[in-house]
Symmetry: C2
Subunit: 236 residues, 2 copies
DNA sequence: GAGTGGTCTAGACCACCCC
DNA sequence: GGGTGGTCTAGACCACTCA
């Protein structure tokens, strides 16, 4: 683990353990440099990482402060595949409905940048939170990258498996959001009425080298759809 | 303008003007260092900025590549208040329905971190894209920060005014998303039927010093709700 | 193994906040 | 004006990719 990552983790841990609140001030740079025995740029890099994650904000000439939001029960849209973290106070389960190797749909092939005759793992599952339906998820994994999957892996965390067992590195993702009305099939899976509101999130996950490996389409139960995004606006 | 920002702008411009596509390779670091006559860290900082913006991705041992998404007509959820940019091919207008100085609701006061007896500017407007309703927006501005607003400013870009005329710096924002059904009033403004799907986005904008100055609640016409997010997943 | 991006350092100087 | 974060440099060394 790199120094700046390690330091970021420790600072984050420190904030959590001491239950620091929005606006609480952290030690000044010089103190942190001494405390972790590293150069200024390394500390700065740690803090930039935490700023990107929405954990702190830095004010020139003033200090480094804790960033926290007040509302509970919201899922971060950006910490991908992170229901475990965000809903840690809740009980999230999932039921696999279909899982097989097949040829992709035109849509999946386009998004994964593969041909119609390449193989994909197709997984369809319903996820529940506290016994209520949370979402219906359909995923296509490029089989030439994700070479093996089974029911056990799919029931647990697929991404954990991809990172740890396959040794792949997830880089970035493109997400597309739509709001519409549930069709009959979706309504049935989610236990709602046809025509009820839905939020659809399509995500294309890429490895660090830019190769797309997963196209997934998730339809959320609108009654459970509470999402949260922390944005930084300094991008010009 | 700082060097690294300037360089980032030029690289971005270069990508746009040459219509580079996803996966196209940019010059190597050493070349860029020479070209802009700056040190390695400065170039790195420029590229980190562009990576955060979703314009490029960097692969260790390989190169720097252009990041582009394929779909058109999607609005970035993160480039706040950025309809102008994203929908530049479209015609976005807005109609101010209400605008006055008043006392905040309990909800607005909580989110703006002010008291019930402090003043806020309240603005309610409907925005249109190509003649169709896009959203209904209700905003509360902390009057002790945003000291003056008028109809002309509100019809144009409020954020441009805040930055340029008031000299304030926008730092970060917290966004909360919900999906639900339109009530009667919202349906009337959006020209839809009561009970139709809606996406509600509540945003709390903060200055760089962490002070919240704007709480806004936007209800989108689901027929126009196509949003896009570029995420980076390397946050541990 | 050559090429390429990433980390880390030490230090100078700058820009901003607040008293 | 003192305190504090941000920018920028030059250079050493490390880690990954790909032929």
């Amino acid at each position: 683990m790199l120094k700046y990552q390690q330091i970021a983790l420790e600072i984050e841990k420190h904030i959590e353990e001491n239950e620091l609140q929005q606006g609480d001030k952290l030690p000044v740079l010089e103190t942190l440099m001494a405390q972790f025995n590293v150069s200024k740029s390394t500390i700065t890099k740690s803090l930039d990482l935490l700023e990107k994650k929405g954990v702190v904000f830095q004010v020139r000439g003033s200090g480094i402060f804790v960033r926290r939001h007040k509302r509970r029960g919201y899922v971060s849209l950006l910490s991908n595949q992170g229901f475990k973290k965000d809903l840690k106070d809740f009980h999230v389960t999932s039921k696999v409905i279909e899982m097989d190797v097949r040829k992709p749909t035109q849509e999946a092939a386009d998004n994964l940048n593969i041909g119609l005759h390449d193989d994909v793992y197709f997984i369809k599952r319903v996820r529940y939170v506290n016994g209520q339906t949370l979402c219906l998820e359909e995923s296509f994994y490029n089989k030439s990258i994700i070479t093996y999957l089974n029911n056990e892996i799919v029931s647990e965390s697929i991404f954990h498996y991809i990172k740890e067992a396959l040794g792949l590195k997830v880089g970035f993702s493109d997400m597309y959001l739509h709001v519409d009305k549930l069709n009959q099939e979706e309504a049935a899976y989610l236990g709602l009425k046809e025509g009820a509101p839905k939020l659809t999130v399509e995500t294309i996950f890429h490895l660090t080298n830019g190769q797309p490996f997963d196209f997934s389409k998730v339809t959320y139960n609108y009654e459970q759809s509470q999402f949260f995004i922390q944005a930084n606006n300094e991008l010009l």
